[in-house]
């Protein structure tokens, strides 16, 4: 693989049981330091693809390299913010304890400093289960960034956050991306976000339908092919607006 690719996938095939394969001959390269968005309709294999890139799932055919290594070997250099972090909300664990679980050598001061950047310094002694959806997503972002990952994977990270919160969240991701130089790979349903923040867009509907810069990919024809006519209409109206 090329040295300057943070992630490379070659001819990925994956199916669950006898169903139609959820990933069908998917190949792409993600340059280092870029923000890449994976878009597509529900059930198009976006989250599955992310799990393959992370090494949580193994493809039946094809290969994945992350930072020139297998996903297993790249562990410790990548981080992940899930779509929905489910846990027992009654479980008494503070934000500080939660963050120190995955970063035991991180001092309280460093953690507090990071939380300050994310405008949630006050959450440090709070119980994780008492946080709002937006605060929890920021804590998860902080957890992912504390290890200075080279590649950050986000799976619809603003799901469950209101519009203003989502906007702030993506500005934060963009800021962290600039500050740390990490490669960001995110699954997103929000085409506005993709247009504003992504350098590269991968359009997935079990197969890779198209890929390129947002202005090349987020066209009526591409979106119609990917989502059907409603999305193309949305895009048209959005442009008019």
């Amino acid at each position: 693989m090329q040295d300057r690719n943070a992630v490379q996938a070659e001819h990925l095939w994956l199916s669950f049981g006898s169903d139609e394969p959820i990933l069908q001959d998917v190949s792409f390269s993600i340059p280092e330091g870029s923000i890449t968005a994976i878009i597509g309709p529900n059930g198009s294999g976006k989250t599955t693809l992310l799990k393959v890139l992370l090494g949580f799932l193994s493809p039946q055919k094809g290969k994945v390299w992350v930072l020139g290594k297998t996903p297993q070997q790249a562990r410790g250099e990548v981080a992940y913010v899930p779509q929905r972090f489910t846990f027992d909300k009654t479980f008494p664990i503070t934000v500080l304890e939660f963050l120190q679980l995955s970063h035991p050598h991180c001092s309280k001061e460093k953690i507090a400093q990071y939380l300050g950047h994310l405008s949630i310094a006050e959450t440090l002694p709070m119980k994780l289960g008492s946080l709002s959806g937006g605060q929890l997503q920021r804590v998860l972002i902080e957890r992912s960034m504390l290890g200075d990952p080279k590649v950050l994977f986000l799976d619809e990270p603003s799901a469950g956050i209101d519009i203003a919160g989502a906007q702030t969240f993506y500005e934060l991701v963009s800021h962290l991306h600039r500050e740390h130089g990490s490669t960001v790979v995110m699954v997103s349903h929000e085409l506005d976000v993709v247009a504003n923040y992504a350098d590269l867009v991968l359009c997935l509907n079990r197969k890779l339908v198209c890929q390129g810069r947002p202005e090349q990919v987020l066209t009526s024809d591409s979106l119609k092919e990917l989502y059907g006519k409603e999305a193309a209409l949305y895009h048209h109206r959005h442009q008019e607006g």
Partner: protein
């Protein structure tokens, strides 16, 4: 403080030492068992040990050691079958523990006459902790406690967020296996004092109480252990003074405290 004189009795000293050791590791492990919603696993192991007790009685060697062997096998069997079949964990545990329990009952029925040892395993007995049993309990408890201290972070991460644990190079399968075996061995150690039927309660009640009160994870662990120790000491004393079964009295103390704390949480503002 005359009632403390009961601890001058050798069998009470053995029971107290065994109880304090168990009060340290059962609630500590119980924090992770409750977090992982594995309470049925603990109950299953306890019941499955009856087969070990029966084998020990029939074969004429220590039922305690035989029960430890069955406990270790139970943990390994659940671990492997969970991964090699698509059967759900609770169904597996249900099948294995009832099968093992049935084997124990059949084996016991082959023995003629009254089986006092069997009753002590079923309901626990402060009189039944021999010096050899005490040595086994102390050594195993010390080893398990050290392992828990070493792996507390990994076990917590594993229980809260397996994906992240994997990304941070936690050896998930190995740690899961260690956890299963620790729970199995700890439960069997507790059977002597608390009995097959009640031992898993000391795994569950202390962390459940501590969870209602603790402001952080550290205090949850400390609170669980302290609660466990208090129940054991108070329960042992009451069981001796009132001539009650030790295991049942210890658990009853825990259950009463649980009800009081739960009631206070309902009445008082949080």
């Amino acid at each position: 403080m005359e009632f403390l004189a009961i601890f001058d009795l050798p069998f009470m000293q053995r029971a107290l030492m065994a109880g304090v050791a168990l009060g340290l590791i059962l609630p500590f492990l119980g924090v992770f068992v409750t977090l992982r919603r594995m309470s049925f696993f603990g109950d299953g192991i306890a019941h499955a040990t009856l087969a070990g007790v029966a084998i020990g009685i029939i074969a004429g060697f220590s039922p305690f050691i035989a029960a430890l062997g069955i406990g270790v096998l139970f943990g390994a069997a659940v671990f492997l079958l969970e991964r090699k079949t698509n059967i759900s964990s609770d169904a597996l545990i249900g099948v294995l523990f009832t099968g093992s329990l049935a084997l124990g009952i059949v084996l016991i029925s082959l023995q003629h006459g009254y089986q006092p040892e069997l009753l002590s395993f079923l309901f626990g007995s402060i009189l039944s902790v021999s010096s050899q049993d005490l040595s086994i309990i102390l050594v195993f408890s010390a080893v398990i406690f050290v392992i828990l201290l070493k792996l507390v972070r990994q076990f917590t991460l594993l229980a809260l967020d397996k994906d992240t644990a994997w990304l941070y190079k936690v050896r998930i399968e190995l740690l899961d296996f260690i956890f299963y075996e620790l729970v199995c061995v700890t439960i069997v150690l507790g059977v002597k004092l608390l009995g097959i039927i009640l031992v898993s309660a000391l795994l569950i009640i202390p962390p459940t109480i501590a969870k209602m009160l603790a402001p952080s994870f550290k205090t949850l662990i400390f609170g669980s252990v302290i609660a466990g120790e208090v129940f054991i000491v108070v329960g042992l004393m009451l069981s001796y003074l009132l001539d009650l079964p030790s295991g049942a009295t210890i658990i009853l103390v825990g259950a009463v405290v649980f009800l009081l704390v739960a009631a206070s949480r309902m009445v008082l503002p949080s």
